[in-house]
């Protein structure tokens, strides 16, 4: 799941200072699940904005809607009839959703209400941890299911570095050393051979916008793989 966290309130307030009517648009999937941008957060943020703007003697009129996903055109359609009534849109979706929304209403200023943070897992209510950097070439098969790109602070492919500290990373005792874990797990599985070989230099594929077209789904000649 994509994990986001609410932007600092002052930043949001500053974005909206020149607008009198703003629509706050939540997203009902990832950011709702990670308690950052669903109905609840939209309501809370609007209450805050309302109060803050009244205190500034600059009242604001706020609308609220949470759609299923802002990264799907069909769901965004629900906004079509509303957006015209507002001076700006504040989106609590992830970076992708916000962009898709902004793309749909090019005339309308669109602002982010959250900082999209990572692809992660849910450890407990309100507690998320990063697990993937979407590098486009997964090495988990070699590394016992532990991602060195995400979980090693230096993203090493041939770790652990000399900074590994009794199983912790050199950056913090609370951060486990990914390579220590990889070693331990591979060793238990008798698969240490995997990392005795030198892992070659990575061909980074996440350095430009990527497009994926799943095989068998290519709809037109023009949408050739980029």
């Amino acid at each position: 799941m994509i994990v986001a966290k609410r932007k600092p309130f002052d930043e949001i307030k500053d974005f909206l200072k020149d607008y009198k009517k703003v629509l706050t648009a939540g997203c009902g999937t990832c950011v709702a699940v990670c308690l950052a941008g669903g109905e609840k957060e939209v309501a809370v943020l609007n209450a805050e904005l309302d109060m803050a703007r009244r205190l500034d003697d600059n009242p604001i009129e706020l609308g609220a809607i949470t759609i299923e996903r802002q990264c799907d055109r069909e769901y965004l359609e629900a906004l079509d009839s509303m957006v015209g009534d507002y001076d700006a849109v504040l989106s609590l979706a992830c970076g992708a959703g916000i962009q898709f929304l902004a793309e749909r209403y090019p005339e309308k200023p669109v602002f982010p209400g959250v900082d999209t943070t990572f692809i992660g897992v849910n450890q407990d209510v309100g507690w998320y941890e990063e697990r993937c950097r979407s590098c486009s070439s997964c090495v988990l098969g070699l590394t016992a299911g532990i991602c060195p790109v995400t979980m090693c602070a230096k993203g090493l492919y041939n770790g652990p570095c000399g900074g590994t500290n009794k199983g912790s990373c050199e950056i913090s005792k609370d951060q486990p050393c990914a390579w220590y874990m990889i070693y331990e797990r591979l060793s238990k599985q008798n698969r240490l051979d995997n990392i005795l070989k030198i892992t070659p230099v990575q061909d980074w594929q996440n350095q430009k916008p990527r497009t994926v077209i799943q095989p068998g789904y290519k709809t037109s000649e023009n949408s050739a793989e980029k």
């Binding site: 600092p8 309130f9 002052d10 609840k40 309501a43 809370v44 209450a47 109060m51 009244r54 205190l55």
Partner: protein, 111 residues
């Protein structure tokens, strides 16, 4: 127990403070209350195990949110007591009222 506390405190009943939402607390301030507080069971003695602990987290969250806006977070508080503690309830009510008096009226009311 007929223990005096200020008449400007009004009670809204919920089944458990665990039901008290961030939105409810914010709404009270937004609509012009000078203060709002949640009164729950003693920590560790929640009838529903941990509702009051969740409420405490939420109260703290709302306090931070209000501070962000520029409203004193101390307008929102959480108190814990057991059902047999009438005097404590009254004492907390008076304490809250004093606290609010010191903070003055909800700044939103002037706007």
């Amino acid at each position: 127990m007929r223990l005096d506390y200020p008449s400007n405190i009004k009670i809204i009943r919920v089944p458990c403070t665990g039901k008290v939402d961030v939105m409810h607390l914010l709404r009270a301030i937004q609509k012009g209350a000078d203060g709002v507080y949640a009164v729950g069971c003693l920590e560790g003695a929640c009838h529903y195990n941990e509702g009051n602990l969740r409420a405490r987290e939420r109260v703290n969250h709302v306090r931070r949110l209000l501070e962000e806006i520029g409203i004193e977070g101390d307008r929102v508080r959480m108190y814990n007591l057991s059902s047999g503690e009438g005097p404590t309830f009254a004492a907390y009510a008076r304490e809250m009222a004093e606290n609010i008096k010191a903070l003055g009226p909800n700044p939103l009311k002037q706007h």
